[in-house]
Amino acid sequence: MASITLAVNGSTRTVDVDSSTPLLYVLRNDLALKGPRFGCGLAQCGACTVLIDGVATRSCVTPVSRVSGQITTLEGLAQGGQLDPLQQAWIDEQVPQCGYCQNGQLLTARALLDANPNPTDAEIRQGMEGVLCRCMSYYRIQSAIKRVARVSTASFTDAAIGTGAKS
C-alpha cells in the first residue's frame, strides 16, 4: 500500500492504495466519483475516460502511481455551477440512450474541442473514433459536438448565438 496524492476536480485528495491500482477504481471506490465507468479494462472502449491536464486518458489502464497532473472527471466538467457547453449540448440534443458510455464521449469531445475548436465532420469522426456506444447514439453525439463548435465559431465571428437551429 502507498499513500498517493491526487489532484481531482480542483481538490487535493490522498488515498492509501496499492500503487498499481488502476486510477479508475481509486476514483470510483475511494473518491466516490461516478463519472468514469468500467467498460473493458483494456483501453478499448473509453467508458473510463478522464482528463489529465486536459488529455483524454483511459483510467482503467492507468496505474494510480503514474498519475501526475490535474484530473478532471465528468463531475468536474462544469465550472462555477455552469455546465460545460458540451454538457448543455448533450441535453439540448437529447444525446444519450442508456448513457453509460457518455462520460467518455463527453470528455473525449472536450479534449477534441480544446485542441481544435472548430473541427470538420471528418475530424470529429476521427477524434471520437475510439469511444464506443452500444446504443449507437453516435449521430446525436456528433450533432451535439457540431452544435458547440458552431456556437464557438459563431462567437468568434460575432454572429448570432443560440438561435436553437438544428443542423
Binding site: 496499492d18 466516490a32 467498460g39 478499448q44 465528468l74 444519450p96 449507437m136 446525436r140 453525439i141
Partner: protein, 799 residues
C-alpha cells in the same frame, strides 16, 4: 410509523434519491410514513397497510410484499406541495419511456409535467407490470397507467364537488387544481383535497394490463401533454455525473466478487488451489459449487487480480461443445431439427411453383450475435437482516425477485429488487445472470456482495441472439408478378433461456441445476403483409451438441428474431423484384395493394409508410441494380439505395439505406438513412425520433460488424478487437425519421399508441443488403458485411 410496509431495510440515501428522482422527502416510503397518522386515526382498512395486515394474518410476514395493483394509491401519490409521484412497474433502457409514462399520466390527471416524478420497477414500491420487453411499455403497460391517472382525476373531482358544493359536471380540472366552471375564481388544489393522504380507491381488472377504474381515458383530441417533445428527465443527471447508477451503489461492509469461468466450454472443475490467492491483500474467500467459481475480496481491483491469479484445474469435455463458427451454417443445414413447426400454408404453393414462369431461390445465413453491453453485467446484493435486496438494472426486476427467491429458497416477500439505471438492456437483463450471482454470494458469506463481469466474460458468455439459416423460393408469372413464396428457417435456438429463470441462468447451469426439460426454442416466421396468393412458411429449431453450461446460450436480443428473419425475407423480396425487373418500391407497393389483411389498418398504413419513405428519400423509380454504379465521389466507389419494409406488432416501418461501396477495399459506408415509422399515437415525437435513429444504427452495427466467433472449444470473440462494433466513422451523414401517423383515410378511428423500441431495428440489415445489391449488382446473403466478405463477394467468391 413502523408498519409492515416500511419495516424492511432502508435504502442508502443516494439510492433513495436516485430512484425517487430528486426529492427523497417525497418518496413512497416518506409518504407512507408521513401519512401513517392518518391511517391510524381514521382507521382506514382497505388501503396499503390494510392489505399488508391481511397478508401478515395469512402468515406471510416478509417486509416486501407486492404492491397491490388494484389500489389506486399504488400508482399515484399526491403530495402536500401539490406535486405527484407516479409508480409504474416498468423500466427504461434509455429509450425515454419513463418520460413518456409521465406524460401519459400527467395528461389523464391534469397536472403539469413539471409537478410530477416517476418511480420505476422497484419491486416493493411499484406495481408488478413485469418490467420491460417486447417494446410493449407504451403499447400495453401505458393503458393501466392512463386509466389509473384518469381514475385519480375522477376521484379528485368528486372530492372537489363536496368541497366546492358544486356538481362534478360543473367543475373543470386543470394544472393540478379544480375550478368551478361558472366561477373560475372558486378553485381548490389537488393537494388541498388529498395531499399526503390516500385515495383509498379500488380499481378493477383481472390482471394488471386490464386495470382500470370507473373513469375512461380522454379522447385523443383532449390530450395536451401527450404529443409534446418534453426533454427526457433522466438526461441532465446522466451528463453532469450526478446520477447514481446501479453500478455505483456502495454499502458498508460490502465486498467485491469476480467470477472465474471455465476456460473451455463445458469444462468441469476438478480442483481449486485456494492457497494461490488466500495470501493476496484483501482476500475474503473463494466460493465454489460444482462448476461455478468466484473469488471475493475487499477491494474491486483485488478481486480482479485474484480471479486472474486463482489456480484451478479444469477437465475439458469429452466431445466438442460446438462446431467452429466458420462451419456453423453447414452444421445448421445438416442437422435433424429438434422441432419443426406446422407449415403456415396459404393457397396452393406447389401448384403455383409448378406453373411459374420463373422461380427464384436463395439461402441466407446470419450468425450468433451478442448483446455485448458497453457496461458488463453488474449487481449488488445485500443480505442484511435475513432479507435480500438487489440493486440492479434488471429490465424485468420482478422476475429477478421471483427467480432469486426460488434460487435461494427464500419467501418472495423477503426479496426485493431496487431498479436503477444501467447500460443497455435490449433483452440481456431479462436473463440477469449477475443478479443471481450477487444474491447467491451475499447469502453465502453474509455480507453485501457486488459482482461485475469482466469484458471477456461479457462478450463471450452473455446471451446470444440465435443464428439462422434460411432457404427461400419464390415464383413469378410471365408478367413478373409474384405468385408464390416459400420460406424455410432453421434457428439455432434450442434451449433458449427463460426470463430470470432460476434453473437456466448461468450460475444455475454451472451449479448443475436443470429444469425438467430444456427450452424448445423457436424459429420465427416473417411478418407478411404482402398479398401473395400462395405461401408456405416453416420453421425448424436446431441444437448445438452441448446445450448446458455453454457460452452460446440463446436469449432475447432486441426484437429477438426480427432482424434475422427480416434480413432473409426482405432481401429475398428484393431478389424477386430484381428477377421481375421491377422497381423495389413499386414491387412492394403492388404486393401491399394486393393484400387482404388490414388488421389495425395495417394495409393502408403500410402503403402510406412505404410511400412516405420513398417520397422523403427522393426515390427514383427503376429496377436494381443501379445502371450507373460508379459515383462521382471516386472511381472505386459505387452507390446504391435499398428499401426494406416490415411491421412489428402494431408498428409499421419502411427504411431506405443509401450506401457507398468501395470496390477496392470492400468497405460499405451507409451514407444516408430514411425511416418512415408509424407507431400510432406518438407520445413524445423527439424521444421517438431518437429511439428510432438508434434502433436503426444498432441494426447497422449488426449488418456491418457483429458476429460471435468461436473455435471448437470456446468463444473467441472476447473484446472490442475480436468483436468489432459500429464506431463514429460508420455513422451516416444524414438520418431522416419521418413520423407517419396513419393512412390518409379521415374516417378511420384514432390509432392507439404502439411500441417503438425495436421496429426500426428490424429491417435495417435487409435495407443495407438491398442497397449493396443496387450499388454493385452483388447480393450479400451472409451477415455481417465486413469488408473481407464484401470483397470476396465482389470478386465472385462464395461467402
Amino acid at each position: 410509523m413502523n408498519n409492515k410496509f416500511t419495516a424492511g431495510l432502508q435504502l442508502p440515501p443516494e439510492v433513495e434519491s436516485a430512484i425517487h428522482s430528486i426529492n427523497p422527502a417525497t418518496s413512497r416510503r416518506g409518504f407512507l410514513q408521513a401519512s401513517g397518522a392518518l391511517f391510524i386515526s381514521a382507521g382506514l382498512s382497505a388501503t396499503l397497510a390494510g392489505r399488508v395486515i391481511a397478508q401478515a394474518t395469512a402468515g406471510n410476514s416478509g417486509p416486501y410484499p407486492h404492491p397491490d395493483f388494484l389500489q389506486l394509491d399504488t400508482w399515484i401519490v399526491i403530495h402536500p406541495d401539490n406535486t405527484a409521484t407516479f409508480f409504474v412497474g416498468k423500466t427504461d433502457g434509455g429509450q425515454g419511456t419513463g418520460t413518456a409514462f409521465r406524460q401519459m399520466m400527467c395528461d389523464e390527471l391534469d397536472i403539469p409535467y413539471s409537478s410530477t416524478r416517476l418511480v420505476m420497477g422497484s419491486t416493493d414500491t411499484t406495481p408488478d407490470q413485469g418490467g420491460s420487453g417486447g417494446s410493449d411499455g407504451v403499447e400495453v403497460d401505458g393503458w393501466p397507467m392512463r386509466y389509473a391517472a384518469a381514475e385519480a382525476r375522477r376521484t379528485l373531482l368528486e372530492l372537489a364537488s363536496g368541497r366546492l358544493n358544486t356538481p362534478v359536471a360543473g367543475l373543470s380540472a386543470e394544472n393540478g387544481k379544480i375550478a368551478v366552471t361558472a366561477d373560475p375564481s372558486r378553485t381548490i388544489t389537488y393537494a388541498d383535497l388529498i395531499g399526503g393522504q390516500r385515495f383509498d380507491v379500488m380499481l378493477d381488472g383481472r390482471n394488471i394490463n386490464s386495470t382500470r377504474g370507473v373513469a375512461d381515458v380522454k379522447p385523443v383530441q383532449d390530450l395536451r401533454v401527450i404529443g409534446q417533445s418534453i426533454p427526457r428527465y433522466d438526461i441532465p443527471a446522466k451528463v453532469d455525473g450526478s446520477l447514481t447508477w446501479a453500478v455505483d451503489v456502495k454499502l458498508p461492509g460490502m465486498v467485491h466478487a469476480r467470477n472465474v469461468r471455465p476456460p473451455l466450454a463445458g469444462a468441469s472443475l476438478q480442483s481449486v488451489d485456494e492457497a494461490s490467492v488466500s495470501s493476496m491483500p484483501g482476500f475474503v474467500s473463494v466460493v465454489r459449487e460444482s462448476n461455478y467459481l468466484a473469488v471475493l475480496f475487499e477491494r474491486e481491483e483485488q478481486a480482479i487480480n485474484g480471479a486472474r491469479a486463482l489456480r484451478a484445474q479444469w477437465t475439458p469435455p469429452a466431445e466438442s461443445p460446438f462446431p467452429a463458427s466458420k462451419d456453423l451454417f453447414d452444421y445448421i443445414r445438416s442437422q435433424n431439427p429438434t422441432s419443426s413447426s406446422q407449415p403456415d400454408v396459404t393457397g396452393d404453393p406447389d401448384a403455383a411453383f409448378a406453373s411459374a414462369a420463373r422461380i427464384v431461390e436463395a439461402d441466407y445465413d446470419i450468425p450468433f450475435q451478442g448483446h455485448t453491453a458497453i457496461g458488463p453485467a453488474h449487481a449488488l446484493a445485500d443480505p442484511s437482516d435475513g432479507q435480500m435486496t438487489i440493486y440492479s438494472n434488471d429490465m424485468k426486476s420482478y422476475g429477478l425477485r421471483l427467480g432469486v427467491a426460488r434460487f435461494l429458497d427464500m419467501p418472495e416477500d423477503r426479496v426485493r429488487v431496487v431498479y436503477m439505471d444501467g447500460p443497455q438492456v435490449y433483452g440481456r437483463t431479462a436473463a440477469d445472470d449477475v443478479g443471481f450471482e450477487a444474491a447467491y454470494l451475499a447469502n453465502k458469506i453474509g455480507r453485501p456482495v457486488r459482482v461485475q463481469w469482466m469484458r471477456d466474460e461479457e462478450t463471450a458468455w452473455d446471451t446470444k441472439g440465435p443464428a439462422y439459416a434460411f432457404t427461400l423460393r419464390g415464383a413469378l408469372d410471365a408478367t413478373g408478378n409474384p405468385t408464390a413464396i416459400e420460406y424455410d428457417a432453421r434457428a439455432l435456438d434450442f434451449n433458449h433461456v427463460g426470463y430470470n429463470d432460476p434453473d437456466t441462468v448461468l450460475i444455475a447451469q454451472l451449479m448443475g441445476r436443470r429444469p425438467a426439460q430444456p427450452g424448445r426454442g423457436g424459429a420465427a416466421k416473417p411478418s407478411v403483409q404482402y398479398g401473395i396468393a400462395n405461401q408456405r412458411h416453416t420453421g425448424h429449431v436446431v441444437s448445438l451438441p452441448m446445450i448446458w453450461e455453454t457460452p452460446l446460450r440463446c436469449g432475447n436480443l432486441r426484437d429477438p428474431n426480427g432482424p434475422q428473419v427480416t434480413f432473409a425475407f426482405e432481401s429475398f423480396i428484393d431478389e424477386m423484384a430484381a428477377a421481375a425487373n421491377a422497381d423495389p418500391v413499386e414491387f412492394r407497393l403492388n404486393m401491399l395493394a394486393n393484400s387482404s389483411e388490414d388488421n389495425a389498418f395495417r394495409k393502408a398504413r403500410s402503403l402510406a409508410t412505404v410511400r412516405a419513405a420513398a417520397e422523403v428519400y427522393g426515390w427514383e423509380t427503376r429496377p436494381s441494380p443501379n445502371p450507373q454504379q460508379r459515383s462521382a465521389s471516386g472511381a472505386s466507389i459505387s452507390s446504391g439505395r435499398g428499401i426494406a419494409y416490415t411491421y412489428r406488432s402494431g408498428t409499421v416501418v419502411a427504411t431506405i439505406a443509401e450506401v457507398e461501396v468501395n470496390r477496392d477495399t470492400g468497405h460499405i459506408f451507409v451514407k444516408r438513412l430514411v425511416c418512415a415509422h408509424d407507431c400510432g399515437l406518438v407520445i413524445n415525437p423527439t424521444g421517438l425520433q431518437y429511439t428510432v435513429e438508434c434502433g436503426m444504427l444498432h441494426g447497422l452495427s449488426r449488418a456491418l460488424w457483429e458476429e460471435v466467433q468461436f473455435d471448437t472449444e470456446k468463444v473467441t470473440s472476447v473484446d472490442w478487437a475480436t468483436h468489432p462494433t459500429m464506431r463514429h466513422s460508420d455513422t451516416p451523414e444524414s438520418i431522416e425519421v419521418v413520423i407517419v401517423n396513419g393512412d390518409p383515410n379521415p374516417d378511420r378511428p384514432d390509432l392507439p399508441h404502439y411500441g417503438a423500441g425495436e421496429a426500426s431495428h428490424k429491417p435495417m440489415i435487409a435495407a443495407i443488403a438491398n442497397a449493396m445489391f443496387d450499388a454493385t449488382g452483388v447480393r450479400l446473403r451472409r451477415v455481417p458485411f465486413r469488408k473481407e466478405r464484401v470483397l470476396g463477394a465482389l470478386r465472385g467468391q462464395l461467402t
